[in-house]
Each structure stands twice: as structure tokens, then as C-alpha cells.
């Protein structure tokens, strides 16, 4: 019962390919940039799938759009800005660092840091004062040694 959402998308969109042969740009460097950008953009129809993987027609449109802009000579950042302007932050699989997302980005590292500090701030073993045995423990010990 895995990836139900993805399965749904797969079925809704019908069988097609992610990247189609006719989409591929002639310039390999440009194509590589297009693929890298595609991997960071979410397909709007599907759940949690990048447009690079998605088979939905809308994803194809978006892939073509990116390539159009790249061919025009725009930088990666310009293309991304254009796409975000048009479709909103929702399309970014890597959310931008904003006042709304700093918790998302910083929590893991903050907790790791706090945990590590906690771990190393433990009082070192040597300085730990030995607690004397209680009366009950002493008598237990004597019994055991006899």
C-alpha cells in the first residue's frame, strides 16, 4: 500500500513518459541544467513527484517551459523565479528559507546541536563523587561476600 498518492497520479495521468524524447534539448549542458531544475519542481497534479518524474501533461508543459527559458539564455535562478511567480511557492520541492519555513530548516540542526551539547556537558566520570553504600546495601554486600 505504498505511495498511494503517487499511484493515483500515475493512473490519473495515464501512461506516458516522464521526459519525452522530443523534449530533450540538443545542447547537453543546457539539457542537464533543465533536468536539474525539473527535479526541484513539483508536479502540480501529482503528490510529491517532481515534474522530472511526472507523467502528467501539465508537468510536460512545465518542462517545455523551463527549456524555452533556458534556451533564451536565462540563468537557473531567473527560470526558477519565473516559475515561482507563476505557480507560487508550492511548486518548489526545496522550500525557500523564509519566515514561514525557518522552523522547518533549522529544527533538525538545532536539536542535534542541543543534544550534542547536552551529551558533552555531562559531568565527566572522574569528578562524579562516589556515593557511600547505604546500610541496607552494606548488609547485602556482607551477606553476598560470606
Amino acid at each position: 500500500m505504498k505511495r498511494l498518492a503517487m499511484v493515483l497520479c500515475f493512473l490519473m495521468a495515464g501512461p506516458a513518459f516522464a521526459v519525452q524524447p522530443d523534449e530533450i534539448l540538443k545542447d547537453p549542458a543546457l539539457e542537464a541544467r533543465a533536468r536539474a531544475l525539473s527535479a526541484e519542481l513539483r508536479c502540480l497534479v501529482c503528490q510529491n513527484q517532481s515534474i522530472d518524474d511526472s507523467e502528467a501533461p501539465l508537468a510536460r508543459d512545465l518542462r517545455l517551459l523551463i527549456r524555452e527559458h533556458l534556451v533564451k539564455g536565462e540563468s537557473d535562478a531567473q527560470v526558477m523565479d519565473f516559475v515561482v511567480e507563476r505557480y507560487g511557492d508550492f511548486v518548489l520541492l526545496k522550500p525557500r528559507f523564509t519566515e514561514r519555513t525557518w522552523i522547518l530548516w533549522l529544527t533538525p540542526f538545532a536539536v542535534l546541536l542541543l543534544g550534542a551539547i547536552g551529551l558533552f556537558r555531562r559531568r565527566p566520570l572522574a569528578s562524579e563523587a562516589e556515593r557511600p553504600l547505604s546500610e541496607a546495601e552494606k548488609s547485602d554486600l556482607e551477606k553476598a561476600l560470606k
Binding site: M1, P15, A39, Q47, F90, T101, L119
Partner: protein
């Protein structure tokens, strides 16, 4: 009639579970052995009743009784028998029955095999199990009854989603559920210990085999899920950071942490409170996973509202169990005696670092999965969190963990010597450096992660081997002595080596596959040839295809390498009845060195076919490594020392063996 009997058995099971929850608990509080012992037959009867209900549902599927709504909606008479069987748990109602069945099975196992548990502890553990049973049986009976009849009965069923018609997927949920639900035992032990107010080495020994069993099942379940995604979804990925995957990954991470911290409790009587907390956390995440998948909240917040009763019910279960156990923890844990002191650099310290990193890794998955949901509910803002986020956050955390894995076992208990441990690991460091160097020479302009990742893999594998070699004194004592020591090693020692080495193998597979994958996308006509890595692939043409409940087209591809024929691969496009849904069957040539992966796509305008081909180097290392980890778990589980019930609670002054 049989469906009604199943329904009846399910309702009876709810009653028995209620009994199992209340009576032994009261008995344990009052110190009444008769009431406490009642837990044992109750657990067995509960299991038998649920098994009967499950069998009744399966019967309806096997004979294709479409008067049962659940069968009508999810099955079809033409389906092969194995998918009629797996159809039982392919849907919400049926999978819930499987869930409670496995829960009751674990409960019955504790009742039968837990002979050496003190009666009070056993009664409390079974009572907690009973309470979970009550919650989920009530969920099933009141909101998700699988036995509802249709009148008049339809002639034919709707069929199963064709993507689910696959052996790996058909049998992946039972393993995953066994893992999820198996963690309920650790949870029950933790809650029982909190009520009891006593956590000691014996408690940890009792908990560990159950946690280990759950961990083994989770490992298989997660690996099977990723294997299925790899060869079914048709674009060659193996992990997508999809919320449903994440739901099974979080409990795995925490269960792994729990396995390690339980060792510290067992051997050193330290980290007790933390271990109890982890037991609660691991099962809480299992419940959360069940909630996320079952309530539909993931697909969209609105799907949740479509059947609000179910969502609210699971949310209620979640609140009661997680909130309740954490409240109990907050109330009782301060009363637990902390034990065993240790220096930061020590075996215990290493295991604490392991726990910290694993838990932060789980937290990262958690926040990445749930943050968009929370943000949307609170602010209406919609954001997406996908693989790039996890690569940046989860990646480095796990990288740090992997570096530490081989060092931990070389540190002494209580106070370790990092320099000494590293000197003993010099061969591992050398192997890692050599691998990094070789990778740099071969692929000097490649991504930096390639040498780093593969070196890390070598570090883990060699480190695991060295640890074993150290234990048997290889090359320090005569070979014969070493071999006889090897034969005498406890299963857990092999278990650790296999699991840690397996982790290294997984890392190698993931890195190689992710960074060196060769992809060729082309429009090909019959007779045309393309080069994919070292292979030459010729599209030979296509033929019509007929299966049990589908028709389609099969394209065949001649694969040669250096002029010699390797194999003929077939990739199919199938259209299933009655849904008319189409799926693609991947043509796959698996070797240890890597897979050739061929997918036939749509017809192109000029009369060819869109063909997508990959060479995925070392990709099978991912599942081989997972298998090695599973094997490690199995070896540990077989270790006599941890066998269920084998250890007895130590007397007040009993010694704990140092190793």
C-alpha cells in the same frame, strides 16, 4: 453466512480485548494471580477470533463473493488467486483487520512464550496490548466494517488497482504491519514498567527480542517497498521521500535507536528512562504512520474531511495512546532510578551518539513530512517538501552517523580510548582512503559525494569485519584458536557485523546508483540501436500480449555487450480489465555490477516508440545490504541469550556480565 460469522467473531474479539485490557490490570494492582492469569487465555481467544474474522474475509475474496461490498470494490473474478488473497489487505477495511490480526498474534506470542516473565509484568503487558486491541477493533467495527453486504449482489467486482498486482507489493504490507505492530510490545513493556516503577537489565532483555523481531519485519517491509517502487513505477528511482514511505521509515529509525539503547540498559543498567521513552516513541510513530496513511490526510487535508468519522477516530486513538503514555511517562519516569555512569567517549557514549543522530534523523523526516500539513492548516500557505530538502538535512546527519558506526563497537564500556580504537581500525581507514583515491582517479570531475560516499561504504564494511576479527583475535592467536572462537561467538556478534556491514553495502548501492546512473531516452523504431553504458540495446519490435486479466503490447529488446548477446529483454504495456488502466512492465537484466532497465513508452508521431533505458550501477547492493541487515537481525534474535523468557530477573545483587 460466513461473512456474518466473521463479523460476529470480530465483535466478540472486541469484547475479549476489553476483558484482556481491564481484568489483568485490576489483578496486577490488587495482586490477584487468578485475575492476572486471565490475560493468557484472553490473548489466545482474541487472536483466534480475529483469525476467524480474517479467514472469513479471505474466504469471501477467494470465492469472489461480490455480495460483500469490500470484495466487490477491490476484487475481480478473473484475478489470479494470489492477488485475490492479497486483495484482502489492499484496502482500508481489510488492512485494518490484518493490523489487528498481527497485533493479536504478537499478544498471543507473549502469552505463550513469555513463561519466564514475572506474572505481574506479563499481565500488565498483555493488558496494554488488550487496550490497543480495543481501540483498533472498535475502529474496525464502528467505522470500517469489511463485512457490509450489498443487495442485490453485483455480478462482477471492480478489480484491484493493477499497480498493486505485483508479488513484492502483495506481500509487503504484512511485513510492514508486523513491524509497526511488533513495536506495540516494546510499548506495552514500557508502559508496564512505568506502572511497575521498575526498569532493569532483565526488563531490557525481555524487550529486546520483541523490538528486534519488529525491526526485522520493518527492515523487510521498507526494503520490499523500495524494491517494488524501483521496478514497477518505471523511472528507476528507489526512494522518493513520499509521506507514505516516510511513515514507515520513521518507526524504523527509532526502532533502530531503541535496539541500541536497550543494549546499554541490559549491559550497563544505564539509559533506562531514555529507553522507556524510545519504546513509547517508536510505537507512537507507528500509530502516526497508520494515521497518516489511513486517514487520507496526506492526499489532501480535504480527503480527511470526506470521511471525518474515521479520521477523528484515528486521531482519538493517537491522542489517547501517545498522550496517555507520555503523561504516564512524565508522572512515573522521575521515580525510575538512573544507573550507570560513563564518560562521553565510551561504548555507552557511542550508543548515546547513535541514539541522538538516529532520533534527529527521524525528527527530520517527521518535520519534513508534517510541516507542510501544519503550515497549511495554520496559515493556508501551501509549500512542498521534497527530496532536495531531505538531501540537505537528513543527508549530513546520517553521514555523521555512518562515520561513527564502526568506531562505537571498538570503544570500551564506561570509558573508552578514541585513539586506540582508531588505531585498531587503521585497516578500515586505509580501505576508505584507497577507495576514495580510486574513485577520484576514475571520475575526477564527478560529484564530490562519489568518493566520500563510497569510502564511507568501505569504512563501514571493513570496520564491521575488523570488529569480528578483533573478537576472535584473528592473526594474533593461532588460526585454529581463532576459528574455534568464531564458532563459539554468540549470534549477536555476527548480527552486529552483518547489520553494520549491510549498512555499508546499502550506502555503496545508493551512492553508485544515484551518482553514476546512465539514462538514455530516445524515440526508436524497430531495428534501431542505442548504447546504454557498456550495453548495446536493439529494439526488435513489438507483439500483442494476452494475460489473465489484461491485454497489451510487448516490446522486445536485444541486449549485447562487446558483440556478444547478453539477453533479450521484454517490456510490456498492459491494459487491465475491467478498469482499463494501463501500466508498464519494466524489462530488467539484473547483475551484481548493475541493472539494465528498459521501459517501453508511447508511440511517437513518426511511428516509433519512446524508449527509456537506464544502466543503474551497483543498484542491487541496496537490497543485498538490506538483506544482510535483516540477516544480522535474525542472527541476533537466534542468540540464546536473548531468547524470549530465557533470562530471569537478576537478584538484587546479581552481576551484569561486562560483555
Amino acid at each position: 453466512m460466513i461473512a456474518e460469522l466473521g463479523h460476529f467473531a470480530l465483535i466478540l474479539a472486541l469484547g475479549v480485548a476489553l476483558f484482556q485490557f481491564v481484568v489483568p490490570l485490576v489483578g496486577a494492582q490488587r495482586g490477584d494471580p487468578a485475575l492476572m492469569r486471565a490475560a493468557i487465555p484472553a490473548a489466545l481467544i482474541q487472536f483466534l477470533l480475529i483469525a476467524a474474522a480474517f479467514a472469513a474475509l479471505m474466504h469471501a475474496y477467494v470465492i469472489s463473493d461480490f455480495s460483500v461490498q469490500n470484495v466487490f470494490e477491490n476484487s475481480h473474478s478473473e484475478k489470479p488467486l494470489i492477488y485475490k488473497i492479497s486483495g484482502v489487505w489492499s484496502n482500508h477495511e481489510g488492512s485494518l483487520i490484518l493490523w489487528v490480526l498481527i497485533l493479536a498474534l504478537f499478544g498471543a506470542a507473549v502469552a505463550v512464550f513469555g513463561n519466564n516473565l514475572p506474572l505481574e509484568l506479563k499481565a500488565r503487558v498483555l493488558a496494554v496490548q488488550g487496550s490497543i486491541g480495543v481501540a483498533f477493533l472498535a475502529f474496525s467495527v464502528f467505522t470500517s466494517d469489511p463485512f457490509t453486504r450489498l443487495d442485490p449482489p453485483p455480478i462482477e467486482g471492480n478489480g484491484l488497482n493493477p499497480l498493486l498486482q505485483d508479488p513484492a507489493l502483495a506481500f509487503h504490507p504484512p511485513f510492514l504491519y508486523a513491524g509497526y505492530v511488533g513495536l506495540s510490545i516494546a510499548f506495552a513493556f514500557a508502559v508496564a514498567a512505568l506502572i511497575d516503577g521498575k526498569v532493569d537489565a532483565a526488563w531490557a532483555r525481555w524487550v529486546r527480542p520483541w523490538t528486534l523481531a519488529a525491526w526485522i519485519f520493518l527492515t523487510i517491509g521498507v526494503a520490499m517497498g523500495s524494491w517494488w517502487a524501483y521496478y514497477t513505477l518505471g523511472w528507476g528511482g528507489f526512494w522518493f521521500w513520499d509521506p507514505v514511505e516516510n511513515s514507515s521509515f520513521m518507526p524504523w529509525l527509532v526502532a533502530t535507536a531503541l535496539l541500541h539503547s536497550a543494549i546499554v540498559v541490559e549491559k550497563r543498567n544505564a539509559l533506562k528512562i531514555w529507553t522507556v521513552f524510545l519504546s513509547i516513541l517508536a510505537f507512537s510513530l507507528s500509530l502516526l504512520g497508520t494515521f497518516l496513511v489511513r486517514s487520507g490526510v496526506l492526499t489532501s487535508v480535504h480527503a480527511f474531511a470526506v470521511s471525518p468519522l474515521r479520521g477523528i477516530f484515528v486521531l482519538g486513538i493517537l491522542g489517547v495512546f501517545i498522550g496517555g503514555s507520555l503523561a504516564l511517562f512524565a508522572w512515573r519516569a522521575p521515580g525510575l532510578k538512573a544507573g550507570g555512569l560513563f564518560a562521553p567517549v565510551s561504548r555507552e557514549g557511542g550508543l548515546v551518539a547513535n541514539n541522538l543522530l538516529l532520533c534527529v534523523a527521524a525528527l527530520t523526516v517527521f518535520i519534513g513530512t508534517l510541516y507542510p500539513l501544519a503550515l497549511q492548516i495554520l496559515t493556508e500557505d501551501k509549500i512542498s517538501v521534497g527530496p532536495p530538502y531531505f538531501n540537505i538535512t537528513f543527508g549530513p546527519i546520517v553521514l555523521a552517523l555512518l562515520i561513527l558506526v564502526p568506531i562505537g563497537p571498538f570503544l570500551a564500556w564506561k570509558r573508552g580510548d578514541l585513539g586506540l580504537s582508531l588505531r585498531r581500525l587503521w585497516l578500515g581507514l586505509a580501505a576508505a582512503a584507497a577507495v576514495a583515491l580510486i574513485v577520484l582517479v576514475i571520475d575526477v570531475r564527478g560529484p564530490w559525494l562519489a568518493p566520500v560516499g563510497l569510502a564511507l561504504g568501505a569504512w563501514l564494511i571493513v570496520g564491521a569485519a575488523l570488529e569480528l576479527a578483533q573478537k576472535i583475535g584473528l592473526f594474533r592467536v593461532p588460526l585454529g584458536t581463532s576459528l574455534s572462537r568464531l564458532a563459539g561467538l554468540p549470534g549477536a556478534s555476527f548480527g552486529m557485523a552483518l547489520a553494520h556491514g549491510g549498512l555499508g553495502i546499502v550506502v555503496v548501492g545508493i551512492i553508485a546508483m544515484s551518482l553514476w546512473k546512465v539514462e538514455v531516452i530516445a524515440a526508436m523504431k524497430p531495428g534501431e540501436t542505442r548504447q546504454v553504458g557498456a550495453y548495446t540495446v536493439t529494439f526488435q519490435g513489438e507483439a500483442p500480449l494476452t494475460g489473465a486479466n489484461y491485454t497489451g503490447r510487448a516490446g522486445s529488446f536485444l541486449v549485447t555487450r562487446g558483440g556478444e548477446t547478453v539477453v533479450t529483454l521484454v517490456s510490456e504495456k498492459r491494459e487491465y480489465r475491467p478498469s482499463r488502466r494501463t501500466i508498464t512492465q519494466v524489462g530488467l537484466n539484473q547483475t551484481l555490477a548493475g541493472d539494465l532497465y528498459v521501459v517501453m513508452g508511447d508511440s511517437t508521431a513518426d511511428g516509433g516508440r519512446a524508449i527509456r533505458m537506464y544502466f543503474n550501477p551497483l543498484v542491487n547492493f541496496i537490497w543485498l545490504g538490506a538483506f544482510s541487515m535483516f540477516l544480522g537481525g535474525a542472527f541476533s534474535l537466534a542468540d540464546r541469550r536473548f531468547r524470549v523468557g530465557a533470562p530471569r530477573r537478576a537478584p538484587a545483587l546479581g552481576t551484569v556480565p561486562a560483555e
